[in-house]
Symmetry: C2
Subunit: 343 residues, 2 copies
């Protein structure tokens, strides 16, 4: 039988000690970590980048098909992704969780295994947090800190007309992974005897459940002397993010449908569900890829980088924000609304 | 009739714009604020102090008797209090909220009025956050950043034998304020016709609903060349915090009951409820006063400071951690357990 240790048996400080005792410090800048009123960070002449995310069970994740280890990993990844999206390097995180007494210490250990795996992968220190009871559901709040050479951070509102619009990796996969998991959940709820078969969907299910932040792209920029003219991460879908870059930079754009990087696995899944792969790539969120603009003269620096696709260019405001389809048509780019409060 | 604007009518970015448009930047170190993937902070040779807190409706606050404006204010205060408890100066906060659709834009405005009032009072910038739907209840996650001259931060584990144990302001008031509000809530639920009369309880109700962080004490230290040997804020009660300082510094202590600073209002309320004021002072939380230890030679520097009470001294580990009562008895100091998960 599985062990179940009640969280109440450890007490708050016993729990914090239990969760953090094997965690080593990786960053020289971490002067003081978990265990006091606050943590202390030194800077050595760098600027600090700060971002935060709140993840709520039933809104941002479904524990029915999200392993706790993956959830812990992803909670860190979505935040370090925002740090990379500033062209900065993540260095520390704080992790606050609220959980009901249906969670055991063993369940929490699984979650933290994922948190620590992500901290190791992205070389960040967990320096603090808050552990609280919740009345219902699992609540995760992460703040990530990063560092950047003064003035080298990349904002959203600094794209220029004519700049190339680029996307890392592939997009739309996480949305199709979600579609598959929601279907399997429905089948399971109707007939718990049927075991889900996700063997052929590992890639897109992985894009959703265990995304990676594009540390490699930021390192590629550094190594090749590239500074994007604007950048953000793809959390709400390419359409939504392209519109952000356009609005904040006060520009229009052209996106080419045929240039959107969609994986073969995502195309196959879209086919199976009768969905348009382009719509999935434009409107599906949670890919945590980077979308950025480059000066045209930097084009030669990225031609050999297979993980970067040029999908279009920034245009004058008057030219609108349009996607040119494979069939030769042109449509205005629209973003999905923010529907969370309308459900 | 009261206006009610649905949050969904603004959309996520409209809401963020609505909530942050009138907020001005106060700190020179805030290089980039709300509106990008992350905020950017410069340091000018200082070290950064980081703390975070998660506040959940029904666990940490009851909206039945907590005005949203006060809640916004307190959410900031409890975090800047942790920054002061490091002998540091708060500079920036991030504010993430999760809320169900029972909240209107007007309700959220009230909450942010309190947030902004606290930011003004404590001279901090709101530099980011996350706004999310919740399935149930109001969730608040705040991270506060502060700055300190390198090496000047004060930890919990550095008290020395013989050091004086000091407390700012008065303690026990917030707990008695809570006791009164819980009683009034019960009366109201039984008979909604009866209006609560809190006129005589303003001070202690205020200690609970609108606490202040002890910025003045940190400034007093600075002005008088005092560096406490250890320090933390009083969020769980004096007993609990004294034990933290003792355990982390590997020492014992003596506390004198007669020296515990309890306000006249708290004493009167304790009398009315048949509670022991000393028990309220030792075990009641949420006062957000500072508890700290000083070298004996610093005693002369605080004798004229009415907001600081010396309540005892640090002793050898072997001497135990004891409170000496007015009646001449000696008891071991015990902390309330962490009962959140046992409810």
């Amino acid at each position: 039988m599985e062990n179940r240790t009640e969280i109440s048996s450890l007490g708050e400080f016993g729990l914090i000690e239990h969760l953090t005792k094997n965690f080593e410090i990786r960053q020289a800048s971490t002067v003081l970590s978990v265990g006091d009123d606050a943590a202390v960070i030194d800077h050595f002449g760098k600027q600090t980048v700060v971002t935060t995310d709140l993840l709520i069970e039933g809104v941002h994740f479904d524990l029915m098909y999200t392993p706790l280890r993956h959830l812990g990993y992803k909670s860190v990844v979505v935040n370090v992704s925002d740090i990379y999206a500033m062209n900065a390097t993540p260095t520390q995180i704080t992790m606050s969780i609220g959980l009901s007494n249906r969670f055991s210490v063993e369940a929490l250990d699984e979650f933290y295994e994922g948190v620590y795996a992500a901290c190791e992968k992205y070389n960040v220190d967990l320096i603090g947090g808050d552990t609280s009871a919740s009345q219902k559901g699992f609540i995760i709040s992460v703040t990530a800190l990063g560092e950047v050479t003064p003035g080298k951070f990349v904002k959203r509102n600094t794209a220029q007309k004519g700049d190339l619009i680029c996307v890392s990796g592939t997009v739309g996969g996480a949305f199709l992974g979600l579609t598959i998991l929601e279907r399997e959940k429905k089948i399971y709820l109707e007939n718990p005897q049927i075991q889900p078969d996700l063997e052929n969907e590992k890639f897109i299910v992985g894009k959703l459940l265990k995304p990676e932040a594009r540390k490699d792209i930021i390192e590629f920029f550094e190594q090749n002397g590239i500074v994007p003219t604007s950048m953000m991460d793809v959390s709400d879908g390419v359409s939504s993010e392209v519109l952000h870059l356009c609005r904040q930079s006060n520009l229009g754009c052209r996106i080419y449908e045929e240039k959107l990087p969609v994986s073969e696995e995502a195309k196959a899944a879209a086919f199976k569900f009768g969905l348009d792969p382009t719509a999935c790539a434009l409107s599906g969120g949670e890919d945590y890829e980077l979308i950025f603009t480059l000066k045209q003269e930097d084009y030669d620096k990225i031609t050999l980088q297979e993980e970067i696709a040029v999908i279009g260019y920034m245009a004058d405001l008057e030219e609108g924000r349009k996607i040119l389809t494979k069939g030769g048509n042109s449509f205005d780019i629209t973003a999905q609304g923010w529907n969370a409060f309308q459900q």
